[in-house]
Structures are given as structure tokens and as C-alpha cells.
Subunit: 340 residues, 2 copies
DNA sequence: CTGAAAGCGCTAACAT
DNA sequence: ATGTTAGCGCTTTCAG
């Protein structure tokens, strides 16, 4: 039960040297005599010395810590399907570089600013990986302005800020194109709330694919919902009840797509025969539907890895090969679109 | 672009007082004159002062941070189905108590000790929430011995250590009992690796229910697998091919149960008519199988909440109402067992 | 009511 | 080769 903390002073005394020498010895500085070094090391291991990183941080003005900031409540942050993969990718890099990971969420939607400020300016972290909030969020600017190194996980207009961005536009394009390639021409889209950049991008990707295939965009084929399976089912029923002619649905995420698919089946329609369905986010759930869901996989672990690496480079003062990185999604073809 | 950090000294100078007075003023100490306080506060807000928490921590010998330690690699830690809910529960408490959350994983299975030691003794965190490792993990003892307040998220024999434990035994019991109540008598169990405490507990709960209903335990009805759907399918095929008579399966987790269910259906068996299936862990995926999966829900967000609250109490030197808390799982009845 | 001084644990410039 | 000193930013006696 080692309750009291053993400090450098303790081991210096034990080894019969000054704290300065002890410090140098432990850092392996060659100015200190071999014999002294050994004495110090022995004392350290004997007393089970572990340096107090707070003291070290204060001195060095760095914390060897990076913060992952979600400008959202914990509830939102940790229910997002991407979060775990992101955490995994980030952790893998950090753990190998001996950095700590601080995970920060906001107490409430109202109270964001305070939370940001605190993390950003209190020197608890040397750099920040910032999850994008809703597009209107003005607080982000503060973080970006704070002077701390930041990697932003989304689109940013200003070429100065480092980003790792996934290509949601391209993903949506691929999914829609896949439907088009299966001969579908009346493709509906269930969109997620448009104050998220990803929602905007997915809608745009969908439109762009239609355009490239000469299909005029029909706003009545886009139906806006939130993120749940139930919403997807609603949307499908709504499309059906509205008497719209449609032979495919591109869901703004997998939950929407799965909800829609099941609702269609309950209405007696066949997927993919009557309506092909594609999703986006690659939930494990999509592997067990009948038919299994064609979807878009975003390499979120890779996003995390790249972001962490980029940040560490910045902290080391090393030049970045690219300030802004775009990672490519992958189309996962399963049965729900009729290919395969 | 606030690059240079503004310190207490800066605002003291600006307000024309000493740093001591400035500090007192900002902390709202009533010894300082109203007028001075206002001057200091004004200077602070003018210069956009945010206290350096590293300095404060060094002084106060606490970090206002708690660490969540997974004695596992990031890959393992963040692919566990419970993790996100746990994080959510913990974050919610911490964010309201102005604590930071450090999430710590191990670089590799071999390198655990170093990782633990560092977090535990370097004073980066004031307390620890510890995710259980495999039962043989001896390093845990070090953490528990470190003198830092710890809340352990599992079973611990010693009544001294604070725990928040979910009742996996009870969950397995409930699931098995539910099958028994549906009149099933030949219940197989697909178990997860037995070097995890939860696996042992679930197997024990299963056995105990059988016993209470007067069914002799038959070891050949337990088949050990890992965690995946494919393993569940394997197990089901193996049971089927082995010519065992069985009318129900209790899966050691939902993936195993779902895999098994689907394999059985592919073999032409009906679920629940021929074989009832119950799982355990309540994945969203279980809601969309046909039939939907009966399962056990462990309130992991609540586990997180309780653990964080308990730890904060300990840090505040407040007495704990209970050192060890057991949270109760809930049986979620859906179609796969024939009830409902 | 306010300021001077000390010190948390560490490291680095500067002596010796 | 090692020790002395100073200081990172903060809080808290202790004097005044």
C-alpha cells in the first residue's frame, strides 16, 4: 500500500546526490558518472519511484496528452456509430507514442462554450482532435483560434486548419451510383438532419450521381428524418402512401435504410425486386437483414489513426505532408440492391 | 489567435494587485474588498484568463481527473459492446462534476504493467475506474494496491475494494429460467472463453437455473466458443450434427445467439418452435432478427454512473453507502423463446 | 484588506 | 561530474 508519493527528492537523498543529478541520471544524461547513475537508478527502483507528471508538465509546459473533444453531450457522442472505431484508431497511435487521451464532452447543448474553453486553455492537453458539431456551431471557431494544435475531423473551408475528413459525398455518390448501375431510376433518399455537414454531403453526393446519370433531381423524392430505424420505416411508409413511384431508396444511414427495408417488406414489397435499398455507415446489423444491406463503409479507425498521427507530428514541430486528408469510403455490396 | 497563455500574474498586474490577492479575488474569498474583486474579475475577463490547471493540480496535489483503465488493447476495449454505454454513464457524471476523463488502454498484452503503473502513480488521475481483465491478470493487484481510489467493475473477493458489479449470474439465470418456463428442458449453452469472469458467471447462472428446476446438468450441452456470430453458427451446427437432442439454446452473448439462430434456421429448424433461443447483452441487432431475440440487458450506463459517483464520493472523503454495488439485469422478452 | 514568501515536483542554465 | 538556483502557475499561510 504505497500511499505517500515518492518524489525525486527522496531518491536523491537516498542516493546521496542532488535532485538535479538524480534527474539527469534518470534521463540517461551522459554527463553523470556511470556509477552515480547506477546508484540513482537503484534508489529509484528500490523506492519504486514514478515521476510525477504534473510537476513535469508544469515545467515542460506540455501535458503529453491530447484531447478528443465532442461538442455534444455524452449521450450523443457515445451513441454515434462511428465513435468506437474512432476511439480505437486514436488510442492505438497514442498508446504507442506514450500520450494520454482525454475524452471530453459537453454538459449540455447550452453550456458548450464553457466546456470548450476549459479544455482548450487550461493546458490539460497539448493538442486537440475535434469532432465536428452542427454546422452552425460558432464555438468551433474559438477552438480553432485558440492557438492549440487542432485536427478537425470534417470539412473546413480554411486551408490552414489540419483536417482528416471522410468523403461522405463520395460515399453517397458510390451508393447511389450502384443503385443506378442496377438499372434503378426512381431513387428516393431518406436524409438525416441538414444541420449536420455529413447530411448535407450525403444529399449532395446522391444528387450528383443522379445528375451524372441524367436523372433530374426530384425534391419530392427526398424525405428528411432523424437517425432511427423507426424514422426509416416512417419514411418508407410515407413514400409508399404518397403514391410515389420509386424503385430504390438510399438511406442517409444504415438504421434508416434497415427501418425502411423492413417497412417495405411489411407492406408486401420485395427487396430488392420491387425496391432496392442501400444504406451508409456499415453497421454490423446490416449483415443480418434479409437481404443483407448494401452500404458504405467509412474507415473510421483509419481516420482516428491519421488524426492522431497528424497531431503528434504537429506537436513535434514536424512538417505535415498534407494539411488536409480525405479518406475514401468503400462500397460494400450485399444483397439489398440486387447485385450479387 | 491567443497564443501566449495569460497567467494569474498578468491579471494581477493589470488589476494592480498581487497574485495572491488576485487568486483570492477569483476564488470569491470574502476577505478581499468588493471593489478589488471586481477590478480583478474585470481584468480576468478582459484578458480572457483561464487558470492553468496543471499549476493548480501541482499545488493541490490533485488532477480533477479520473482514469478509466482497460487492461486491454484498444482493439479489445473499444469493440466490446458494453464500452460505449459505460463511457456514456461515466461521462455524464464527470462532466457535471467538472472532472476530466482519461481513457487508458494497454499497448499490447505483454506490456500491460508499464501502462498501469504509469497511469496509477504519475498523479495524472486522482482515481481509477478499472475494467476487469481476464481473471488471471495479476497486474490488477498492483492497481488495487497503489493507494489510489479505485472502483472495480467486477467481482472482487475482498470486501475492502469498491466495486460496481453487474449481476451476470442473475442475468443468465433469468434467461435460462425463462426458457424453462416455456417448457424447454434440453437447454444447450454456448459459452464464451472461461478465463473471463463474466463467462464463468453466465455458465454458473445457467447451471443454477437448471438445478432449481430439477434438470441435471449435462456437460455435453455446453459448447465453448469465442464471441462472434460465426462461432454461434458453428456451435449450433455442431450441436445439430452431434445428434444431441435440444429444444433451446442460451447464448453466452447476443452475437453467439444470433449466429446460432440463423444457423438453425438454415438447417431447416424453426425458432422458437423447434428450438428456442435466448441471448445476453442486448445488442440492437437482436431487435431485427426474425424472430426478435430474447435477451438480457445489463444497465451499463448505470454501471458507469454509479462507478463515477462512487469514485467522486471517495475522492471527496465522503463515506460510501455501499462499498460494493450489484446492478440488476433485465430480461427482455421478444419472440425467440416462444413467449409473447 | 492586501502583499510577501514559500512550496507543490520537476528540469535546465549556470556555477563549481 | 555534480550541486545551486531559479522558475513553470498556482494557492495559502503569515505578516503587515
Amino acid at each position: 500500500m504505497t500511499t505517500t508519493h515518492v518524489t525525486l527528492k527522496d531518491i536523491a537523498r537516498k542516493a546521496g546526490v542532488s535532485t538535479a543529478t538524480a534527474s539527469l541520471a534518470l534521463s540517461g544524461d551522459r554527463r553523470v558518472k556511470e556509477k552515480t547513475r547506477r546508484a540513482v537508478e537503484e534508489a529509484a527502483s528500490l523506492l519504486n519511484y514514478v515521476p510525477n507528471e504534473i510537476g513535469r508538465s508544469l515545467r515542460a509546459k506540455k501535458a503529453e496528452t491530447i484531447a478528443l473533444i465532442f461538442p455534444n453531450t455524452p449521450r450523443f457522442a457515445f451513441s454515434h456509430p462511428y465513435t468506437v472505431h474512432l476511439l480505437q484508431g486514436i488510442s492505438e497511435v497514442l498508446v504507442h507514442n506514450h500520450f494520454h487521451l482525454l475524452v471530453s464532452t459537453a454538459p449540455s447543448e447550452a453550456d458548450e462554450t464553457a466546456a470548450y474553453e476549459k479544455i482548450v486553455r487550461n493546458r490539460r492537453a497539448d493538442g486537440i482532435i475535434l469532432w465536428p458539431a452542427t454546422v452552425r456551431d460558432r464555438h468551433i471557431l474559438r477552438i480553432l483560434d485558440s492557438g492549440l494544435p487542432v485536427v478537425y475531423l470534417g470539412k473546413w473551408h480554411d486551408g490552414e486548419v489540419a483536417t482528416v475528413e471522410r468523403d461522405e459525398f463520395g460515399g453517397a455518390y458510390k451508393a447511389t451510383e450502384h443503385l443506378l448501375k442496377q438499372g434503378r431510376r426512381r431513387i428516393a433518399h431518406i436524409s438525416t438532419p441538414q444541420h449536420y455537414q455529413v447530411s448535407i454531403d450525403r444529399l449532395a453526393g446522391y444528387k450528383s450521381a443522379l445528375e451524372d446519370y441524367g436523372i433530374p433531381f426530384d425534391p419530392s423524392m427526398v424525405i428528411g428524418k432523424d437517425f432511427s430505424m423507426e424514422s426509416g420505416a416512417d419514411a418508407a411508409r410515407q413514400l409508399h402512401a404518397g403514391g410515389f413511384v420509386f424503385d430504390a431508396i438510399f438511406g442517409g444511414n444504415d438504421r434508416l435504410a434497415i427501418g425502411a427495408m423492413r417497412a417495405l417488406q411489411q407492406l408486401g414489397l420485395s427487396v430488392p425486386h420491387d425496391v432496392a435499398v442501400a444504406g451508409c455507415t456499415n453497421l454490423e446489423m446490416g449483415t443480418i437483414t434479409t437481404p443483407a444491406l448494401t452500404t458504405i463503409d467509412q474507415p473510421m479507425a483509419q481516420v482516428g489513426t491519421l488524426a492522431a498521427q497528424k497531431l503528434i507530428h504537429m506537436l513535434n514541430g514536424e512538417p505535415l505532408e498534407q494539411r488536409q486528408t480525405l479518406v475514401s469510403p468503400q462500397l460494400i455490396i450485399r444483397g439489398s440492391c440486387g447485385a450479387q
